[in-house]
Amino acid sequence: MPFSPIILWTDALIYLFVGIVLFLIWYVRRNEHLLVPWKRVGHSASGMSALTVLLFFLIVGLLDTIHFRPALDHKAPNGERVYSVEVLSMLDLLVTPLRTNMEKTYSAPLATHLYAKETIELPDGKQIRIFARLVYGGAHLQNPDVDHANDIIWRSAKGLMAGSLVWCLLASGLIIFLSRRHQEKFTQTIATILQRKTEIPWYAILITLLILLLIIGCGIALASHYHVLGTDKVGQDILYQSLKSIRIALVIGTLTTLIMLPFALLLGIMAGYFRGWIDDVIQYTYTTLNSIPSVLLIAAAVLMMQVYIETHSELFETIAARADLRLLFLCIILGVTSWTSLCRLLRGEAMKLRELEYIQAAHAFGVSHWRIITRHILPNVMHIVLIATVMDFSGLVLAEAVLSYVGVGVDPSMMSFGTMINAARLEMAREPMVWWALLSAFVFMFTLVLSANLFADAVQNALDPRRRTLKQSKRFFQKLDNKEQTPSKLSQAIKPTGSSHQP
């Protein structure tokens, strides 16, 4: 085999997470009454646009999760293949030029020269201080001063063309699929999409996709010959760093939440539901945890872990495995320290709910405590959980930045938004300022968090049965019926008014 697959701890957890999500999707698809509200998610224009962007991030993150060690050219004396100690991911493979094209130090986005002057010895022995040419960025240009701008415009135009071409292919594929499904003419389907009359807001999705593909196309076209977002202090491409950071952000955001949720849900609801001494114990626990400054607690835990890793270096085959264990441990400790706020929220909500009459009625039926918690209380606090976790998601990505600043964040060999922001601290103090690292970290993080927020918002709107009035939901059901009876007519499956204008 030309490579040996590696599954790191966080990879395994991500696969598990993906597995759970796929199982839930399968389960929901089998139950009509669960499917109906989820179909409503598909009707929110902002939610579906956000999902499109989010999917891009997820694809990048998942590609970066598939790890392997490539085989080296030479073989061991006994004829076995020797694998590199460097662990690569699918993403690394796809963007190899970004990974390998290292400059000497800082260079601005799309620049052809370094950002700092350096002393160069001329062939005649004289020394001058100039901005040196980059090794890779714009290296193909003979006369950068003249050709630079034209070359960039020409290449980005080509990239835009390619992006729109891909978009056209995707869009026509989609339209053909839709018209097949509803047995309609191609042009008819286009017309309904353009008039924004489709049930799923394809119009908004296609526009988002177009913007996304244009940016990607432009980026790909330029990235082969330039550093699109510049380079950092050691000359590494910022675009590559940003792409690699996506996985770390997703891992910290999702795994921490996964670790935190059981604590927060179980303890919070138990405290609010049972009251009495159970409440006291749980309250004292989280008040104690809260009273320790969380940064110090995390620092102490991470340092302990670091010592353990260093004294047991024989346990780790590669640097990546070490860094990964540290990341996992960081997620765990972040999870352990961040469940308290959600727990307190849930305790209050459970206290309110336990006095409600439907819970009293369940008591009168002798329903067990466990069933009351899972069937009555849990579904009714899910909206809080959903909001809190999405809010936490951005908070956690930021917390990672703070921890990197203190020096207890992810392993220095890993690239994350935190380390990028942390590095930018010094770069901002330079004269002239290095702004591109911070800006790209900011733009990527902002897009990720915003799309996650918008999507969660759409999910919440759709899943809360109280949000919809009697009349609207009736109409919705009628429409579904129509669709089932006459699947051949798209016009009946189409909403009478734009689905994006819901109260």
Partner: protein, 683 residues
């Protein structure tokens, strides 16, 4: 007489959904100076929206699209917002339904009234203070000079409503809009507040626009009445005309659906369906779908105003000059079906409660030491015979609901015994209790919070079956059901029993109206075949017409299934209609207990007498005289010594302050606790 307020063709839209809701649709009315004008209607008819439109205090989504609101000839809708502020509180004031929510909890009463005074009258500081005290004295707040500096939480519900009235009166308005001013209050307090409003009106000659759904309150207060239905007024009459000859079928059916003593042995007339959605355009009469006298013309022609007498108008085709021949109203067949006289069931005691006490400890301090007890229920004994109804009557806060819950062991009683079919329930373990839980169930007051919004109806109904019947099967194989008889069929049968279509089981609770939800709650309780149903104010959150549907349902269930009810309520009319026996509660104790006729016709305890006399009556009765009670219900933390009622009792004697009176017996079934009557030696 010149009109004080004149509303012409007012139209208010609410932009909440895809199509605007016509909350008020072409409403016109006049109010004369010094009169009380009542706007009567079910919830969702646009009564409150009318009031808010007059004040121009509509919510964000509301919009007045047409019409005029003139006060003394000046159109309010043309005024600027600044101009409107000079009207509000000065010329038109408003009091709201919830006194708890309409006072700011962090300002003292004096500060809140001062706000109004500063806005409208330029008074010196001393004059302001004097005026506040005067206002509070005017609304009957004792010791006003001291109490004006207290915060709202130090006032009881009735006191808060008085303070609200004082605040509304501060600017000496010409018109007072009272939006359900007494709905949240108890009957005795309601009587006080209504009396106060009448007195103030006589003194100041202001007009009152009274918005209410309570026919009794209307009968006591109003001079002229407008009946509102689905955004428009359908009948306009003086009080006498309205109560003697209600003209519109809606008004007639509303009267027919009121419960009462005379209707005990028959089902109540119900108004089918519910108020139509106001988002649609109406082509005919809005009431046509629920009307029992509908004609063909009603479906396609919007009725105009037709006079019945000179000052009695109605919007109904039946009163057209050349009206088509009236259909004979086939009341007996159509809506009033006489129920079978109850078959005499064996007089088996189902539930026996003896000396039940529920005390909630009050904890204070760091170590949570117990510093006192709230004696919510303090030694209550009662007995329910199978197939009969015991009504538990009393004001809010007297411990009625606590009794219900402690019988079900949802609240652990502090002392006493609850025996169900000779099995002691107190001190049973959770698992032991579960085996007999199916025999007694509860229906709650608020149908909106008693169904889990995240569960479908089928899941709600199955829950009790799953939790109880399975465990029962394990316990004993008494259930003689064929195994094929599936749960789903059982649920279908239940839904049919409570009068709902079978398909609703796939829906979520939010898709139902209040009455339908209450039916579902009843079906849920019935799912486990109980013998005793504890009904905790099951109709107090519902409109009169819906209340009639639920009462009919309960009554037919009792006849068909032989259920016994413990009916907890404060509504005397419902008690008279439904109950076999009555227990009157005051501050955690039962003060009078007896058969329905004994208690209602010959109330012995002064509290019962006062309670019954304060219920607003529809039929004007010259002999009637309201026994006004002083003050409010005392706190159950420190109940008065001796007889709990003595501080408010008109005939209190010295001994009442010392010891609690023992029972005085009038007949085998009628007892009371009062020193006014000789009590026999306990044998």
């Amino acid at each position: 007489m010149k009109n004080l307020l004149e509303i012409e063709n007012l139209e208010t839209l609410l932009h909440t959904g895809d199509t605007p809701v016509r909350a008020v649709d072409g409403l016109s009315l006049e109010i004369f100076p010094g009169e009380t004008f009542a706007l009567l209607g079910e919830s969702g008819c646009g009564k409150s929206m009318t009031a808010l439109s007059i004040m121009r205090l509509l919510p964000e989504v509301g919009e007045i699209v047409a019409g005029q609101v003139k006060i003394n000839g000046a159109d309010l809708l043309q005024l600027s917002e600044a101009g409107m502020r000079k009207i509000r509180g000065k010329r038109i004031s408003m009091i709201f339904q919830e006194p708890m929510l309409s006072l700011n909890p962090v300002l003292t009463i004096a500060e809140q009234i001062e706000e109004v005074l500063n806005q409208h009258l330029q008074l010196s500081k001393d004059a302001t203070k004097k005026r506040i005290q005067e206002l509070l004295e005017q609304v009957g707040i004792p010791d006003a000079a001291q109490r004006m500096h207290e915060y709202p939480f130090q006032f009881s519900g009735g006191m808060k409503q008085r303070a609200m009235i004082a605040m509304a009166l501060a600017g000496e308005p010409e018109l007072l809009i009272a939006d359900e001013p007494t709905t949240a209050l108890d009957v005795t307090i309601q009587a006080q507040v209504l009396d106060l409003m009448r007195q103030i009106q006589q003194r100041t000659h202001m007009a009152i626009l009274l918005i209410t759904h309570d026919l009794g309150v209307v009968a006591e207060m109003a001079q002229r009445i407008a009946v509102m239905y689905a955004g428009e007024i359908v009948e306009l009459a003086s009080r006498h005309d309205f109560f003697q000859h209600p003209a519109h079928p809606y008004s007639q059916q509303l009267f027919a659906s009121l419960p009462g003593k005379q209707k005990r042995d028959q089902a109540l007339a119900v108004i089918q369906g519910s108020v139509p959605s106001l988002a649609q355009q109406f082509n005919g009469c809005r009431f046509v779908d629920r009307c029992n006298q509908a004609l063909a013309i009603c479906h396609n022609t919007i009725p105009q105003w037709y006079p019945v007498t000179s000052d009695h108008q109605v919007r109904c085709h039946l009163y057209q000059q050349n009206a088509p021949e009236k259909l004979p109203i086939d009341n007996t067949n159509q809506c009033i079906t006489t129920l079978d006289v109850k078959s005499n069931t064996t007089e088996e005691t189902l539930l026996q409660v003896t000396d039940l006490k529920v005390h909630f400890p009050i904890r204070k301090g760091l170590l949570k030491r117990i510093v006192g007890h709230v004696k919510a229920v303090d030694g209550v004994s009662l007995k329910i015979v199978s197939g009969k109804t015991l009504a538990l009557v009393g004001e809010s806060g007297c411990g009625k609901t606590t009794i219900g819950k402690s019988i079900l062991q949802l609240i652990k009683p502090t002392a006493g015994s609850v025996r169900f079919r000779n099995q002691e329930l107190v001190a049973l373990k959770r698992s032991q209790l579960r085996q007999i839980r199916s025999q007694f169930q509860i229906i709650f007051q608020d149908p909106y919070s008693s169904l889990n919004p995240r569960m479908r109806i089928i899941e709600i109904l199955r829950e009790g079956m799953d939790a109880l019947i399975i465990s029962k099967k394990n316990d004993s194989k008494t259930r003689d059901q064929s195994p094929n008889f599936s749960r789903e069929e059982e649920i279908n049968a239940l839904l049919r029993q409570v009068g709902l279509p079978v398909e609703v089981k796939w829906r979520y609770p939010h898709e139902f109206s209040g009455g339908q939800r209450q039916r579902i709650a009843i079906a849920r309780a019935l799912a486990v075949n109980p013998e005793l149903l504890i009904c905790d104010e099951p109709t107090s959150a519902l409109d009169v017409s819906v209340q009639a549907q639920i009462l009919n349902l309960l009554k037919s269930l009792q006849n068909n299934l032989g259920l016994a009810f413990l009916f907890i309520t404060h509504n005397i009319a419902v008690v008279e209609y439904l109950a076999d026996e009555v227990a009157v509660m005051y501050l955690g104790r039962i003060v009078e207990y007896g058969r329905i006729n004994e208690v209602m016709n010959h109330p012995r305890h002064p509290y019962t007498q006062a309670l019954l006399s304060s219920v607003p009556q529809i039929a004007s009765n010259p002999d009637r005289h309201i026994i006004a009670l002083k003050g409010d219900l005392p706190s159950p933390v420190k109940p008065p010594t001796g007889c709990h009622f003595h501080p408010r009792c008109a005939s209190a004697m010295p001994i009442c302050r010392v010891t609690y009176p023992p029972a005085s017996t009038f007949s085998a079934t009628h007892t009371t606790h009062c020193f006014l009557y000789p009590h026999e030696q306990v044998s």
